[in-house]
């Protein structure tokens, strides 16, 4: 609320440049992830770690895991 009231009610004479702050660690991880993904070939997303096979008929049954 206060910031809304104070906003823009005067002008500074000299333009103030604010340095962009960079989170270097985050930037690095982002770049690393991008590079890692670029190396992917023949790939697919994957999050399921147990079921090997699944059919719609399994909706109310247990998944077909090899026993």
């Amino acid at each position: 609320m206060m910031s809304e009231l104070l906003k823009g009610n005067f002008k500074v004479q000299r333009e103030i440049k604010v340095d962009e702050t960079k989170d270097e660690a985050a930037e690095f991880k982002k770049e690393f992830r991008k590079k890692a993904l670029e190396s992917i070939g023949g790939s697919m997303v994957f999050v399921e770690r147990e079921k090997l096979f699944w059919d719609e008929s399994n909706l109310n049954e247990k998944s077909l895991q090899k026993s």
Binding site: F32, R33, M44, L52, S63, K66
Partner: protein
């Protein structure tokens, strides 16, 4: 057998690949599946079960550099192997060139311009524009050369052998792969990717299965693992070997410089610590050293998890690489073939 000296940043990034992949591929795989519905005539439920020796043993041919370094295809041919041969898209042409005609070819990746090249790309020049993917590949030197002439030869080879061959094609396949393989006359059996828990109502797998009516197979994130799941679960083959499944780099002749992550890593951590981001493993049968990156490490972890869930044994006849661990038995390809 496991990797030593893994940097926590490395593990964190490898662990995030799943969610990154979901964001990256999520919409595309559903969209491709919807489009491909019109072409689905048969599914992997309809595939004739193999008979005789082809029902007893299978070799999954992945496309890692060991395939040519260890002369694997010629060695398979020399044994007179009578079991089933399952090629992935990336090893299909190479298998044909070696005189091995696979019984099945499996394709998975939804990439709109790259994947079609494994079948001979009719729009080769357009699709390769500004894309250095194949020139960075260590899979097949012929592909690395990006040669128009090589592509022409591949088109002719696939045209000659593809007609009637069993193509195990994922619903997520890009349009140009579907068009190309239909034009050749492959005998297509469709499947959906099991990418998340279908018991969850908002699961991508459930959406695709409902949309297409296809059964879903786990991929482990990569086409080679999907081929192993296909052999085990759809064909019910009890003894399965993998070749060309390196899931890593040869330390002796692949410098860190050749990896995707080298420059960003060097700038960040410096040369002296860079080794922590390329964990090493020694292949037990040869003593040769290999190293991995986050993507290969992720593939390997996925496969080992699925192997544990399946309670089966995987015979790794790659002759190198990082695929060692519980449920994996490493042996020479000749030793596998003579017991089939």
């Amino acid at each position: 057998m496991s990797f030593d000296n893994i940097n926590p940043d490395f593990k964190e990034i490898a662990g995030q690949i799943t969610s990154i992949g979901l964001n990256w591929h999520g919409e595309q795989i559903v969209e491709n599946s919807r489009w491909n519905k019109q072409f689905i005539e048969k599914t992997i439920r309809d595939i004739p079960k193999p008979q005789g020796k082809k029902a007893d043993c299978a070799i999954v041919v992945s496309a890692g550099p060991s395939l040519y370094k260890n002369n694997i295809l010629a060695r398979i041919k020399a044994t007179g192997f009578q079991g089933s041969i399952i090629a992935i898209d990336g090893s299909y042409v190479r298998s044909l060139k070696a005189g091995l005609v696979p019984n099945y070819v499996l394709t998975l990746d939804p990439h709109p311009t790259r994947l079609v090249r494994w079948f001979g790309d009719p729009d080769f020049e357009k699709n390769m524009e500004g894309d250095d993917y194949f020139s960075r590949q260590d899979l097949d030197i012929a592909f690395r050369n990006n040669s128009i002439e090589e592509n022409r030869r591949n088109i002719a080879l696939v045209n000659e052998y593809g007609k009637g061959s069993k193509l195990i094609i994922c619903s997520t396949a890009p349009r140009n792969v579907v068009e190309r393989t239909r034009a050749v006359g492959f005998d297509a059996y469709w499947w959906a990717p099991l990418v998340d828990n279908p018991e969850n109502k908002d699961s991508l797998t459930r959406t695709i299965v409902r949309e297409t009516g296809l059964p879903a197979m786990n991929t482990g994130g990569t086409v080679g693992t999907a081929a192993w799941v296909f052999a085990l679960m759809a064909l019910k083959i009890p003894r399965i070997a993998v070749v060309g499944m390196d899931l890593g780099y040869y330390k002796a002749d692949t410098s860190y410089l050749q990896t995707q992550t080298y420059y960003s890593l060097r700038d960040r951590v410096g040369e002296d610590k860079i080794q922590e981001y390329f964990p090493e493993i020694t292949y037990p049968a040869t003593g040769e050293k290999f190293y991995t990156d986050p993507t290969y490490y992720w593939y390997r972890s996925n496969l080992l998890d699925l192997l544990a869930a399946s309670k089966s044994t995987l015979y790794n006849c790659t002759g190198g690489g990082t695929l060692v661990g519980d449920g994996v038995e490493c042996l020479e390809i000749e030793d596998f073939c003579k017991n089939c």
